[in-house]
């Protein structure tokens, strides 16, 4: 009898555990759908239209590209605080280069600056061994200073060719170019992280660096690559930001830092158990984009948007943490 009761209790537990597992894995997607339904109910004529969906996608494109690079770093546990400053710097640089050289030269030049910034971050954190949090804190401070110094605090907007601005504002088949670029970035990162040996190495080093080293993975190179990916995508974000604003603004990218971290951490609660993953990040970015778009349509004042965003961030992470705690107890 007693053992039967135990078995029954265990099966209840496993059912509850299974539900928790589902909730934990797909909770973020469920909340995204609920959020969508909520806004669709409140603004039926405006929110759930194709043009608004396209505009949500356009609004999240830059945040999405930045977050994709950050995700690669976060898989390794490397906090890259310099992404937003890199984006701002790149936006200013491309706006400064455009009047002088062809845009097909200026853009690769700026993106290769992103490679350089990534290498510097990677060198100090992976080769020298300083915590990436400090290294990127320092590089972001320096980049912010350099940006302000170069621009003197003013926007650069003269001599930017129309063809360049079209990248940020033009559309193809009714869908903005930015959305295509976003999709391309996510496909590439997804394939690299899930279908190629790089992804295996990435998660191996992120899971257990010592074991990864003993199994013959060049750990330092993986860290360097991740920082370079993050730097390149941050630079690309900056270039596209300049194209969208048709100017290089010395504070344009600052707001993206927290958004990118929030998207990545929201994403880490989705699909893979408590791990950063690129599809999860995409869901996180979509969640933030939908929330912002809906709140603007509802006429929520901007300060309340901060409050709601922050509260939802904490709640989502806490909910996934609770689900994890609930999962852990039965197995103990």
């Amino acid at each position: 009898m007693r053992s039967g009761g135990n078995a029954q209790r265990a099966s209840y537990r496993s059912v509850a555990g299974g539900l928790l597992l589902l909730l934990r894995r797909y909770g973020m997607i469920v909340s995204l759908l609920l959020l969508f339904a909520f806004f669709a109910l409140l603004r039926p004529g405006i929110f759930p239209t194709v043009s608004n969906l396209v505009s949500i996608l356009k609004q999240i494109a830059l945040l999405g590209i930045l977050s994709a690079g950050l995700t690669v770093c976060l898989v390794l546990g490397d906090f890259d605080l310099s992404v937003a400053a890199t984006a701002t710097w790149s936006g200013v640089m491309v706006a400064a280069l455009l009047p002088q050289v062809s845009m097909w030269l200026a853009m690769p030049a700026v993106v290769s600056m992103g490679v350089g910034i990534g290498l510097i971050n990677g060198f100090f954190s992976a080769v020298i061994g300083i915590s990436p949090f400090i290294v990127t804190l320092a590089t972001q401070t320096m980049l912010r200073g350099l940006t302000l110094w170069y621009t003197g605090g003013y926007s650069l907007y003269s001599g930017i060719p129309r063809a360049f601005v079209r990248i940020g504002r033009g559309t193809f088949l009714g869908i903005p170019y930015l959305v295509y670029i976003l999709a391309l970035v996510y496909i590439i990162i997804y394939l690299a992280a899930n279908r190629m040996s790089f992804g295996k190495k990435l998660y191996a080093v992120g899971g257990n660096p010592t074991a990864a080293r003993y199994s013959g993975i060049h750990v330092i190179r993986v860290h360097l690559t991740a920082f370079v990916v993050s730097g390149v995508l941050a630079a690309l974000t900056g270039v596209l930001l300049a194209a969208r604003l048709s100017s290089g603004q010395p504070r344009a990218g600052e707001g993206l830092l927290l958004g990118a971290f929030a998207a990545c951490f929201l994403g880490a609660t989705t699909f893979r158990s408590g791990r950063f993953n690129i599809l999860g990040t995409l869901v996180g970015v979509l969640f933030i984009g939908t929330l912002n778009n809906g709140m603007v349509l509802l006429g929520v004042p901007f300060y309340l948007q901060y409050v709601i965003q922050g509260a939802i961030l904490v709640l989502a992470i806490a909910a996934s943490g609770l689900a994890r705690a609930g999962l852990r107890t039965p197995s103990r």
Binding site: G129, Y303, L304, Q305, V307
Partner: protein
């Protein structure tokens, strides 16, 4: 028995040399202090009439006082490996509430109320981190966003800047002096002293270091980790709030971005501090050194008319330089120790073989 003695006879020479090497290498612990002295020397030689005066020293101390207070609170959290990213937003909120409440109530009561609110925010942070088991980075990122929103909301009715009706008596706290020493400096030194005593000389403080050293070991030692973490966040929140209150006392106004720069500055200062004297550990003395370095740079650069943007660049380079050099020294020290230990073993082996 004879064998043992003969072995030992072979040993002494190398360890003596190694001990000397290690002694030299110990200087590395004081790298940041040396850096501070070099900075002082450079600024003194470039501005001999202005920089090295008592008045300018007091000026520097006055300038860094708020940073020191805020960074000291952060240090307590960092000791336990917890990040508090909300300090800047808490300082802003503290400032905004101070400027908003003081015109309507007695100063002491108003300040006490503001500090209670900020302590409450710290409590919430601590509860989220300890009971909900959210990473402190995320939890405080969230509360930071919420608080920023509150500050904007609170100031939105009055054109974003609150400055009217702040009592004169309160403003005197930010500008007054005793024996030419500004009150704010006393606030900073008092805070640093209290937290130093807490961290180094009380059971609570030692337990905080134990939690930071190894969570598992601390748990098995019967330390109530959650309570300590909550205490850390409450201290960090309260001191960030105090920073905000004193900001208003000094500037006579509050606006919703007033405390933002404390976030990155405090982290810089605390990490530079962790690269001094007791390398790899956060401690109040180190935080004070970091704060002094930062204050000296800003003061010297302002005297030399270096633009603010370049000060940011230098701030970043100093952070990297301090931490890199500390790390390299540490590595060198370890390799020398390893070498001397190996040498000792080889010697013993040779001695044994000869015997």
């Amino acid at each position: 028995m004879a064998d043992e003695r003969s072995v030992e006879r072979h040993v002494p020479r190398r360890p003596a040399k190694a001990r000397f090497e290690q002694g030299v290498l110990q200087i590395g612990r004081y790298g940041t202090v040396l850096g501070l002295l070099v900075l002082i020397a450079v600024f003194t030689s470039m501005k001999p009439s202005v920089f090295p005066s008592l008045r300018n020293l007091l000026n520097i101390l006055n300038q860094i006082s708020l940073l020191g207070i805020c960074a000291a609170g952060l240090t307590v959290c960092l000791v336990m490996n917890e990040f508090d990213l909300s300090i800047g937003a808490v300082a802003t909120l503290g400032a905004v509430l101070t400027a908003g409440w003081l015109p309507h109530m007695p100063s002491m009561a108003g300040v006490a109320a503001v500090l209670c609110v900020c302590a409450g925010i710290g409590l919430v942070n601590g509860l989220i981190v300890s009971t909900l088991r959210v990473s402190s980075f995320m939890a405080t990122l969230g509360t930071m966003t919420v608080l920023t929103g509150f500050s904007y909301w609170y100031t939105s009715g009055s054109g974003a800047i609150l400055y009217s009706g702040i009592p004169e008596g309160f403003l005197r706290v930010g500008k007054g002096t005793v024996l030419h020493i500004p009150y704010l400096v006393f606030f900073m030194l008092g805070t640093l002293l209290l937290l130093h005593l807490l961290l180094q000389h009380t059971t609570t403080g030692r337990r905080m270091y134990a939690v930071g050293g190894s969570l598992e070991a601390a748990r098995f030692a019967g330390i109530s980790i959650n309570r300590l973490k909550i205490l850390g966040f409450v201290l960090s929140g309260t001191l960030a709030g105090l920073t905000g209150v004193l900001l208003v006392a000094r500037l006579g106004l509050a606006e919703p971005t007033i405390g933002d720069r404390f976030l990155f500055d405090c982290f810089t200062v605390a990490f530079v501090g962790a690269a001094s004297i007791r390398i790899g550990r956060f401690h109040i003395l180190g935080t004070l050194i970091g704060t002094l370095i930062m204050g000296t740079i800003f003061n010297g650069f302002t005297l030399l008319d270096v633009p603010y943007h370049l000060q940011l660049v230098v701030q970043g380079s100093i952070l990297i330089a301090a931490v890199t050099s500390a790390g390299l020294w540490q590595g060198l020290l370890r390799s020398v120790r390893l070498r001397s230990a190996r040498g000792e073993m080889v010697h013993k082996e040779e001695g044994r073989r000869r015997a």
